[in-house]
Symmetry: C2
Subunit: 102 residues, 2 copies
DNA sequence: TGCTTATATGCACATATTTGCATATAAGCA
DNA sequence: TGCTTATATGCAAATATGTGCATATAAGCA
């Protein structure tokens, strides 16, 4: 793998690597939602959610469609949920190691 | 999923989301290596590689063992390679969409 | 012990990321 | 058109991240 390829992969992973964006993906995994619905999930400004969604869209993980005044967001790459699951495995393994005092 | 859980997952993914760290994981997937071997992979200072490895170790993705003067690094969570593969899927899907002019 | 190789760390600096507030843009509706 | 709801964006400030250089620490060996 060369640096360019690694950079492209890193850019996708960076788009996911934020607590709020992970919460957004989690919510979208249970169905399409508009910005105001997603804003209700966390205690941050609506503008912040808007920008997080922009990042997910730029990365190609989420798509949008307009429905009247609302913009509906859709998880177009559910595969990224698996990437999040991988991180859960790491957490579990780390915990196991701690439990064994390693 | 609550914010704490999302934060823990994000911290793991952040540890991977950097081109150099992805190159390091890729190299380690083909066998354990010491710092100086890994430093040869990219044109950055040895201290930079050392710090990237520290992040991977803190996240619990890589472990180390000493062998004489050298410190050998080992990919303890190969599952993270799958997370990187997920990002490749996203890139492929994005490319497909572009090819269809969507 | 003194020298060499291997790795880590303090420091300073540059760059990137996140955030809220205010405000802009866009759609729907009276 | 004027009002309301929905979403995006400019700006400024705070925080985080990545980097090289110099140097510290640790192991092996003559």
């Amino acid at each position: 793998m060369n640096y360019e390829q690694a950079k492209a992969r890193a850019d996708i992973l960076k788009a996911v690597a934020h607590p709020i964006r992970i919460l957004l993906l989690d919510a979208l995994s249970r169905g399409d939602k508009c910005v105001s619905e997603l804003t209700g999930l966390v205690d941050v400004d609506q503008s912040s959610i808007s920008r997080h969604l922009t990042q997910l869209k730029k990365a190609g993980i989420v798509t949008e469609r307009r429905e009247g005044a609302k913009i509906i967001h859709h998880l177009s790459c559910p595969c990224m949920l698996q990437a999040v699951d991988c991180s859960v495995d790491v957490l579990k393994n780390s915990k196991k190691r701690l439990d064994r005092n390693l």
